[in-house]
Symmetry: C2
Subunit: 219 residues, 2 copies
């Protein structure tokens, strides 16, 4: 990809495959999802990665930045799936169906995603006030994802395909039906009486959301 990179290396084989950085993000993602920002100590992260605590600071400026990078990676994975689904041609209702299917697939693929996202949405005050540049990037990413759905809702209403619902309230209902559901973990599994992420239950959740749209939204 990068033509300036020399073909033969001089020293220090860069350890192709997951470097420390990715491994740290993997571990941190799982831990932050389970216990939140304040509930995770960098020592635990380092131990699970197999590094000393101090080595983490070589890869990330501080704990907040690590958390935000984890969040950004999650948002990236979701965006990767949702964007093409929303953009594909077709009437609004179909694009919405496909977009939410893509969202659900993304949430189901990485079990930590929904929890991190829910925390990101709900936990305003869990961090030191200023988040630096990464914080803005996270907010922008979220706004983009929301914008895609909101635009479709607006479009469908304008075309007369949807009822004149409140767009913000519909957004909240959809977020609840998707992000909350897959973030509900053990509680959700108790309710369902089985795993949340089995192929069956993921399909049932898609059906539930689809029914929500078709019964509640279609004109």
């Amino acid at each position: 990809m990068d033509p300036s990179r020399p073909t033969a290396r001089t020293s220090k084989p860069p350890l192709e495959g997951p470097g420390s950085r990715e491994k740290i993000l993997d571990v941190a993602e799982a831990l932050f999802a389970r216990r939140g920002f304040a509930g995770v100590g960098l020592r635990e992260v380092a131990d699970q990665v197999g590094l000393g605590k101090s080595s983490l600071f070589h890869h990330f400026r501080n704990k907040v930045q690590l958390y935000l990078e984890v969040l950004l990676r999650v948002l990236g994975r979701i965006d990767e799936r949702m964007r093409p689904a929303l953009a594909a041609p077709g009437p609004p209702i179909e694009r919405l169906d496909r977009g939410l299917d893509a969202l659900i697939d993304a949430l189901a693929e990485h079990p930590a995603s929904a929890r991190l996202l829910l925390r990101g949405l709900v936990e305003d005050e869990a961090f030191p006030a200023d988040l630096g540049p990464e914080g803005d990037t996270v907010e922008r990413r979220i706004a983009e994802l929301l914008g895609g759905i909101q635009g479709l809702l607006r479009e469908g209403i304008e075309q007369g395909a949807f009822r004149r619902v409140s767009i913000p309230h519909t957004m909240q209902t959809l977020i609840g039906a998707t992000v909350y559901h897959f973030a509900s973990g053990e509680f959700g599994e108790d309710l369902l009486g089985g795993p949340l992420l089995s192929a069956d239950e993921v399909r049932r959740r898609k059906d539930e959301v689809r029914a929500l749209l078709h019964h509640g939204l279609a004109a």
Copy 2:
């Protein structure tokens, strides 16, 4: 209530009105809602109450018990409102409407409730594993609240008034539409473009949930 208690006290006027215990619960409720269990230090609680850190331990065995008592009070307030609404006579769909209205009123009345509840549902692993007797009480309380709704859903389906929806998935959708919505804080307010708890927006949320039931559930 307790006949063994003497009618006239010997000393130490018991400071009728909100004693320290209630004040601690109030402060802790607000803080835990904002930053979660691990994100709150007992020092901050004590400072805001106007006590020394150590004095908290005179009222609560430890931090976990304080958290659970906060949660129990929240659950009690919700139960207080929902139980009579669900029990009142009428066809299932009306009782469901009234029950969810009562839930929304309860969530809107104390802004911390929804967040604490959402955390309670979603944050399994945020605490030391064993929660003692209060933990069981919390779980039982939640199960009771859920049971009321689930029972109504089942009843409505049996009577042919509701479509044959998946009860657990419908529960998840309803929890998302109520608890998640009122827990969404600043994010939700950005989405709505105004306060989440204004009389107007609370009413709109009730309408949204009602529409969810009537379009998605009614046969």
